[in-house]
Symmetry: C2
Subunit: 160 residues, 2 copies
Amino acid sequence: MDFSIRDAVQEDMSQVLDLIQELADFEKEPDAVDITVDDLIKEGFGTQPLFKCFVAEMNEEIIGAAIIYDRFSTWKGRTVHLEDLIVKASMRKKGIGKALYTRVMHYAKDKGVKRVEWVVLDWNTNAIDFYEKSGATLLKDWYLVQMSEKGLATFVNQNV
Amino acid sequence: MDFSIRDAVQEDMSQVLDLIQELADFEKEPDAVDITVDDLIKEGFGTQPLFKCFVAEMNEEIIGAAIIYDRFSTWKGRTVHLEDLIVKASMRKKGIGKALYTRVMHYAKDKGVKRVEWVVLDWNTNAIDFYEKSGATLLKDWYLVQMSEKGLATFVNQNV
């Protein structure tokens, strides 16, 4: 396996979007991806980018990606959020995910953040095992809460 | 109840930190708060602030706070994260939390984000009821995962 990890460039975003869709399929939410390549370029490569992306590349093809951004904990301070860690299905079990994950952890350590955090589906036992073996901790007593764009519009209209 | 909601200023951060500690006590993590007033000022009021804070004020005292920041969903796009929504214990059940929450939702709507998201402890039924009534959705099949600063150092040392 001769792959390399590098910072993503704008030209990678089309292949990265394919990976994002692949992850959504895997997570049983195939219709959830509303974002476009243009959105990824606009939000990731402006003067105040909303995310940073690492890609795994082999034979000029993008076979994996990690997408991260800064967050802030009012208990700990500056943290890094790992939004997505994706390896192309046909390329799994070859150390690509571990290499991307390791790059993210080095990046976070170099930035001096107080924590790296992310979420995982409760049935994704392969990922959970990997995260726990790496030294991460699962917090099982918290729920994610989301107000959708539609819910937001309704709430705001009802609470002027 | 004659309180007002406004953007926080640096001089509020000492009282906001008291509220953050109060929330940590309520969430049964009294020793979790490592952050200082100086950290809050540095990270919240620089040229690229890591968070935005709204406060509820009554008689020149800060009685509540909401702390938010931008996030990014690779499915939806730009989102707002609600990190903390805190009302001083002696001031609860007076509509202050609802007023802060409403301000956050208006802010998010005005920014045109695709979602507002946050987390809640599974035993905090008062908060859960409030969130659900407001139109938010609980996602119960995800776990939070955290790599602590110490775990990060260990992992990075073992995976150079």
